[in-house]
């Protein structure tokens, strides 16, 4: 009897392990099948092969957003028809930002939402910017402003770097 028990124990363990593995494989396959089916019918489905690179990343971040060329942003600011919103963190903003910009990191957008909406409705173009080609902050800020119903929101990609390089006016400190 003892001998039988001794023989059975590892067998039960092996069965349990094998069942665990097969169940795991089944669940993963089922999940993958459902994923493939759902991805093929949804409008926002991803292609199975995506060329991920800094350039494609920047393009995907800009999806559904309107970009503004540097020259146009500059001339709008000259005529007083632009409100720059700096999506970077307060410390970077303090060190330097586009003259007249408002510091509005995406997480804190709600704080300035009403002010921005009123200014946009009065005819100002809201220009979101951050630093770097693949910086996700300004697209995210622009998207959340758009979703909150702010009209004429545009993104100045790599705004801080390009603005500085062009020698356009900047300032330091809080606002």
């Amino acid at each position: 009897m003892t001998a039988v028990r001794k023989n059975r124990k590892p067998r039960t363990g092996t069965l349990r392990l094998s069942r665990t593995i097969w169940q795991g494989i089944f669940l993963v396959c089922l999940g993958a099948l459902l994923a493939a089916g759902f991805n093929s019918i949804r409008s926002t489905g991803l292609p199975w092969t995506g060329a991920w690179s800094p350039a494609s990343l920047a393009a995907s971040q800009r999806q559904g957003l309107e970009e503004i060329p540097l020259q146009e942003a500059w001339s709008l600011s000259q005529t007083g028809r632009a409100l720059f919103v700096d999506a970077r963190d307060p410390a970077s903003f303090y060190e330097g930002h586009i003259k007249g910009a408002l510091n509005c990191p995406p997480g804190g957008a709600a704080r300035y939402l009403e002010e921005i909406r009123i200014l946009a409705l009065s005819g100002l173009v809201i220009i979101a910017y951050c630093d770097g080609v693949d910086c996700p902050l300004s697209p995210e800020l622009a998207r959340s402003l758009q979703q909150a119903g702010v009209p004429s929101v545009r993104v100045l990609m790599d705004g801080w770097g390009r603005w500085r390089k062009a020698g356009y006016p900047t300032e330091k400190g809080n606002r």
Partner: protein, 161 residues
């Protein structure tokens, strides 16, 4: 005596049931958040700079659904062992990925419960959290007795047919 009591309490299938429900809810929620925004999740995966480019989109498409599947498996107690194994495996991989990224000094969002690239950046606390959840997964694998499982109900229905 005390030690035996602690061991009995620790190995309790009720504790395992609690872990099952907890992990189940977490995985279903995490999966649904990513299903809603596959591009955001793909971006979060890309930001880790661990995977080759060709793997990012297939994983961004499939991983959220696998999370939902294993979450449901744990909640319903169906294919429980498989669900617990996949959950534990995923948590181990997540912990390693976050750990590597922290060592490399990457300042990126986790992509765990939010697909926003500007969400709070990862810290070692995220690794600790994943390891704790991994412990729960292993507990289920070792001690779960299939309490509150729908498997007997399904089997009875199938046998009747």
């Amino acid at each position: 005596m005390m030690r035996a009591r602690i061991i009995t309490w620790f190995a309790s299938p009720f504790l395992s049931l609690l872990f099952r429900w907890f992990l189940g809810v977490i995985f279903v929620y995490a999966g649904l958040v990513k299903i809603v925004d596959p591009l955001g999740f793909a971006l979060a995966l890309y930001n880790y700079h661990i995977l080759p480019a060709w793997m990012i989109n297939p994983l961004a498409i499939c991983v959220p659904w696998v999370e939902v599947m294993v979450g449901v498996s744990l909640l319903a107690g169906v294919m429980l062992l498989g669900g617990a194994m996949v959950v534990s495996g995923m948590l181990a991989i997540f912990a390693v990925a976050i750990g590597i990224s922290l060592i490399r000094g990457l300042n990126i969002a986790c992509g765990c419960f939010s697909t926003s690239a500007t969400a709070e950046p990862i810290t070692w606390l995220y690794v600790v959290r994943d390891l704790l959840l991994l412990g729960m997964g292993i507990h289920i694998l070792l001690f779960d007795q299939g309490y509150a499982s729908l498997t007997p109900l399904i089997q009875t229905k199938l046998l009747r047919k």
